[in-house]
Structure formats: C-alpha cells, structure tokens
Amino acid sequence: MILSSIFNRRIRGFRLVEVIALSLLLIMMLGVYFAKTSAGGERTRIDQVERQIAAEKSRIRMLDAEVAYLERPRRVGQLATLLQLEPMRADREAAPDSLSAIATRASQNPLYAAPRGKPSALAPPT
C-alpha cells in the first residue's frame, strides 16, 4: 500500500515522511527569516524616503504660505501705491479680436503718423 510505504520507508534510520516534514519546516523558517529581513531593510529605506518626502512637503507648504503672505492683496496694493501704479483704464482694455481694428484706427490717427519729411523711427533703415 502506498500510504503505509510512505510512513514505513526509512533513510539512514529516519522515516522519509519525517525528513520531508523537517525539510519543509526548515525551508519555511528560512523563507520567513529572509522575507522579514529583506522587508525590514526595504521598510527602513521606505521610512527614510517617506520622512524626506514629508519634510519636503512641509517645506513646500511653508514656501506656499510665504508666497501667499507676500502676494496678499493689501501688500500688493501698498506696493502699487508706492510705485504710483493705478488700475488700468477701461479704454486701455482690448479683446484679442479687436487688436487689428485698433491698429487700423491708430494708423489713421495723425498723432501716430510719422512726421512729414522724416522717416518713422520704426521704419527700416534704407
């Protein structure tokens, strides 16, 4: 019978089934040991990288907050006042589609025409 032959067969005095079981046990123990050891090393490295990422994120947040602080509307307004800047006038606003019409109007305006007898400053040299 196959089952009884497995239990009865011996190698150098040890039952085959016990040798197989012991071998499996040792393999599993070594497997767990190596898995845990290598995972522990990886874990340490991951923790280090995570700490670095957290520190960088914290630094980025600090810088973002500093940018927001420096760009706060009141400060920008005070700087604009200091530099004598004013809100743009409505007549200085133009949609992209209207730029060609503005250029045409400007070319017809004598204020923008080149003085007679003198070449325009923008004219190419001859």
Partner: protein, 588 residues
C-alpha cells in the same frame, strides 16, 4: 455506504463529497488497522493528520506575515490620524487662504540647565513676547515645563542655535492664515484644538477634517475680486469714516460669494489682539434697516402681481398717509411719476402707494419667498435672524415698502436681489466653490419677464441722468443698481435719526442680455458714514456707496470675464467717480 451513494436530492457539492469520502475511507483504514492488530499505525496516521493541519496553519501564518511585512505604507495599521489636522482652504483659483504649518512648542527642563542666569538672560532676549516672570517660574521648577508655543522655524532655529541645554522642542501643526486681515471674516479661524470658531473654518469643519494631510477645500471666493473689493471699501471708509462697512460680490445664478469684505477687520492669526466687535461678520451677523434698496423689491412685486406696469402713474405731489405714518419724499418731486420714475427718484410716496395696492398678504408672501423673513440661507453659521413686523398690516406695508420697519443682514439683501436678477429664482448663497456653470435648484419667486423688466429699470437708474445711481456707471458694463439710505433708530431720542444712516448701493452687471445670462451682484454698505467735501455734504447711498460700487465693478469685470460692450449711439460716462452737484434723484 459512502456519501457518494446518497440519493440525488441529498447530493453535496463535489469538493465536500470528496472530503467526506476521504474521511470515510480514513475511518475505514483506522478500523482495518485496529482489526489487523496494528494500533500504532492508527496513532501514527492521526499524528500525521494533526501535523498536516498545523503545517497548513503555519503556512498561512507565514504567507500572512510576509505579506504584511512587505505591504506598502498605505496598508500599515497603527498610525493614528491627528484629530486637530485640517485640510487647506483655497480660493476658487487655488490661492492659499488657510493652512496647517509646522510650528514648535518650547519646553524647558530645569534639571539639565547648567547656568540658570545665562539661560534666563538668553531666553528673555530671544522671546520678547514672553514675560520674564514666566521664564523665572519655569527655570525655578523641578520638572520639564511648557514655556512658549507656536514658534516659527526661524524662531526655533534661533533658539536652537543658542546651544542651551534644557531646551526641548516639540513639533506641532498650527493653523496659519497667510493673507492676514484679507477675507478674515469669510475665512474665519479655528482654535488650538483644530475646531473652527468662525467663518468657513467653522462652517466647513467636516470637509476640512476629511481633507487633512494635504487635501484642499476650495471656496467660491476669488482673491482678485476680494482684493479689489477690500481696496475700494477701504478707500470709501477712509473718505467717509463710517462706523462699519460691508462689501459683497456674488454670482446671481449660482449664489457663490466671490468676495466678502467687512470693516473693521482683524487678523485671524491673532484674533485675540483685536476687540471682539472687530471679529463680527457684519455681512452675515448684523441687521440693518436697508432703506430704499427695498424699493426694488416692492416695484418687482408690483410688476409680478400685475398691480402695476412700468408706465403706471403715481401721484407724488403731496405726502401720503398710510397706517400711522405720513410718508414724505426725501427730495420731493411733487409730480405725477411713472413706476420707472418712482424708482429713479426713489420716491417713498410712490412706493408706498404701490405697496398699498399690492396689499400686506402678498407683500409678506413675496418677502418670504425672497428669504427676507428668515435668516439668510448660507453656509456661514453667523447668519443672523432678521427683525420683521409682528403683524403685516398697513403700517408694516408703509414701512417695509421702502426698507423701514424691517432689519435684514446684507447677505439676506444680497440673496433677495439674486432672485430679482437671475430670472426669478431664489437661490441660496454659498461660500463653497461650485462646478463651472452650476445653477442650483431654487424656488421661483418672480417671473422671468419681471426679472427682465427689473434689469431694465435698474439699468435706467444708473444710465439715465435723473437716476440716483449715475456715479456707479462703468464704461461698457451696463451697470444697473439702486441706492439705499436707511435712517437709523436712535434710542436716545426715541425716533429715527437725521444724522445716523445706513447708506448702500445694490448694483448688478451686466444688465444687458437675457435674465439667464452671466450676471453679478455687488453691494457696498456704509454704516453711519460722514459726509465729505467731495460728496457736497451728503452721506446718502448715491454719494458714498455708489461710486465705490462702480469702481469695484470697473476693476473686477476683467477677472470675471465680462466683456465691455459699447453701444454706438450711447455715450458712456468717462469716469466712474461722482462729480458735480446732487442730481434730481435723492440718492436714497
């Protein structure tokens, strides 16, 4: 008989039948071993089975241990979430409004301090905000004690570089508001335990806690609009020196609050440094008798109920008695006025006569529909209850038709104007950013035709020289609006004061197009403004609030993507600043 021989109706699944057969055969093997006089085989087999079962269990544990050892950080357990942590508050474009930043708490352990005198001297110099007496007390103790909290990285580094033994630093996240006073009342602030105390910090507590760890909660506010609003409100405050001031910008279709400014304001990083009154969100928590801005509601109700048409006439030549009140006009037109002229002249007599025709029941029903009789529907917890007439009779009609006898918050007024200008739907206000193009469901209050007519009437009040809102005009933006000047009740004289007023301007732009088109509402309100030389001694809404509203609109239109349209036959006013003597409109 094995399990395989059971009748068809008792048949089990194949796997179970296999296990059953196997156990059956095993038991037979035990029986045969016992019968053959070999009981040791029986015991061996049983031991083998137990070994196999334990081996399998061990294998499962091995696989589980290896898997959990190699699992990613997200699968690890045991890391407790910080209950005080909150996500970032950002504006609709992602600009940072409130953020948890790493700070340090400083503890001193006197048992390891080498030189107490030198340590004391260094701490007094490095921490000027901490009383020397407190430092002495900590240094004189016998165990580690807290000395200072909320140290910035620079402050912590400066202390650390002193190289003093006994100084212990503990990391701690702390809520910071990088914009300082800007939008302080809308953003609000939270306590050291991470609980919101006011504003969005309180209203959006749950989503903020859910976003802890780097997530963001976007608000509807646009900091570019907010900056302009605060700038122009600040200029109006500097010129007219009021007791308080409010500025609001909303999208009338979505109800999103794009800007909300109050004066006086406070720094949410140090709320305790300002008087408690400064922390009050006047836009949400203060109620005012708004005055003539209510006339827009009365006129709209008159149109919507069919009581009047734009051409209907009202005799405003003599004072009108309704209930216990005799109603006068601030600047008596002493003429028969059409409905549109009643609006433009801001005639109390004409409005009261219209309200009398509407009747108290219908007036109350419409006011309720617009949300004026309850606290404004908005996420902010500060939203205050209005003061409404106890009984809707002729006296109440006479008063409320032109904004007296009823106190509402600026936000309630804003929400009500929204229903007037967006096609007639009462939409709740919100501080949360909604998806682009979102139009929340609301209850219909006015017909679309009434809304379209009101846009025309409000535009005429700004564009027409006899209108009271001319100084709010902005080139190409077809601004419409209504002035308001509510006299304040003075308890000392037990009557309405002639000098203390709430002056406001309720504006909308662009008025051109259909009611369904993109449209914004702007409210500027000054509480007890003082006249200036430029206002010719007036402190009414048309003189103190309308110019500021016009300047706000002129500056924020490009940010909101509103194109200027110039009608070829209509000459737009060259500037938005009021100039010249008072116009016929009373500016009420």
């Amino acid at each position: 008989m094995s399990l395989a021989h059971l009748p068809q109706r008792f048949r089990l699944p194949l796997a179970w039948r296999w296990v059953g057969d196997w156990v059956w055969r095993l038991e037979h093997a035990f029986e045969r071993a016992r019968a053959a006089g070999r009981p040791q085989d029986d015991a061996r087999i049983r031991i083998f089975i137990v070994t196999v079962v334990f081996g399998l269990a061990f294998l499962v544990l091995v696989i589980g241990a290896a898997h959990s050892a190699m699992a990613g950080p997200g699968k690890r357990v045991g890391a407790l979430a910080n209950p005080e942590a909150r996500g970032d508050l950002v504006d609709r474009n992602g600009a940072l409004l409130a953020v948890d930043l790493l700070h340090w708490d400083l503890y001193v352990d006197p048992t390891v301090v080498w030189d107490t005198a030198a340590t004391r001297s260094a701490l007094v110099r490095a921490l000027p905000g901490i009383p020397a007496r407190r430092i002495d007390k900590v240094l004189a103790g016998d165990k580690q004690a807290f000395l200072a909290g909320g140290l910035t990285p620079a402050e912590k580094d400066a202390l650390h570089d002193l190289g003093l033994p006994g100084l212990v630093f503990a990391e701690k996240e702390r809520r910071s508001y990088p914009l300082g006073q800007s939008a302080a009342h809308l953003i609000g602030f939270s306590d050291t335990g991470g609980q919101g105390v006011a504003g969005a910090e309180r209203a959006l507590g749950e989503p903020l806690h859910a976003a802890a760890g780097g997530g963001q909660v976007p608000l509807a506010i646009d900091m570019r609009v907010q900056g302009v609003l605060e700038d122009e409100l600040g200029k109006a405050v500097a010129e007219f020196n009021p007791r308080g001031a409010v500025g609001i910008v909303t999208d009338v279709h979505s109800g999103e609050i794009l800007g909300l400014a109050n004066w006086p304001d406070f720094d949410p990083n140090r709320p305790g440094a300002s008087p408690p009154d400064y922390q009050k969100n006047l836009a949400a928590a203060a109620v005012y008798e708004m005055g003539s801005t209510f006339k827009a509601f009365t006129v709209a109700i008159g149109l919507d109920t069919g009581v009047a048409t734009p051409q209907s006439t009202f005799d405003a030549r003599t004072p009108f008695k309704l209930g216990y009140r005799t109603i006068h006009d601030y600047h008596a037109a002493k003429a028969i006025l059409t409905l549109v002229q009643v609006f433009q002249h801001s005639s109390n007599i004409g409005t009261a006569k219209l309200a009398e025709s509407i009747g108290p029941q219908r007036l109350e029903r419409y006011f309720s529909g617009m949300g004026l009789t309850k606290r404004a529907k908005v996420d902010l917890i500060e939203s205050a209850q209005p003061l409404t007439p106890k009984k809707w009779d002729d006296d109440a009609v006479a008063s409320t038709s032109f904004g007296h006898g009823m106190n509402v918050t600026p936000l309630a007024l804003t929400a009500a104007y929204g229903s007037l200008l967006n096609g007639g739907i009462a939409v709740p206000l919100t501080i949360k950013k909604l998806p682009p193009g979102a139009r929340p469901q609301g209850q219909r209050v006015f017909s679309e035709a009434t809304s379209a007519e009101m846009l025309k009437i409000m535009r005429a009040n700004v564009a027409d020289p006899i209108g009271s809102g001319g100084s709010a005009n902005a080139p190409g933006l077809s601004v419409g609006g209504k002035t308001g000047t509510g006299e304040k009740w003075d308890p000392e004289i037990r009557a309405y004061s002639k000098t203390k007023q709430v002056s406001s301007f309720a504006a909308t732009f662009p008025t051109e197009g259909t009611p369904a088109d993109k449209r914004y509402f702007v409210l500027i309100l000054l509480d007890e403004p003082h006249p200036s030389a430029r206002s010719y001694g007036y402190s009414t809404g048309g003189w103190v609030a309308a110019p500021a509203a016009g300047r706000v609109i002129n500056r924020i239109a490009p940010y909101l993507g509103v194109q200027r349209h110039y009608a070829p036959t209509v000459a737009e006013a060259p500037t938005v600043v009021a100039a010249g003597p008072p116009v016929a409109g009373d500016g009420m």
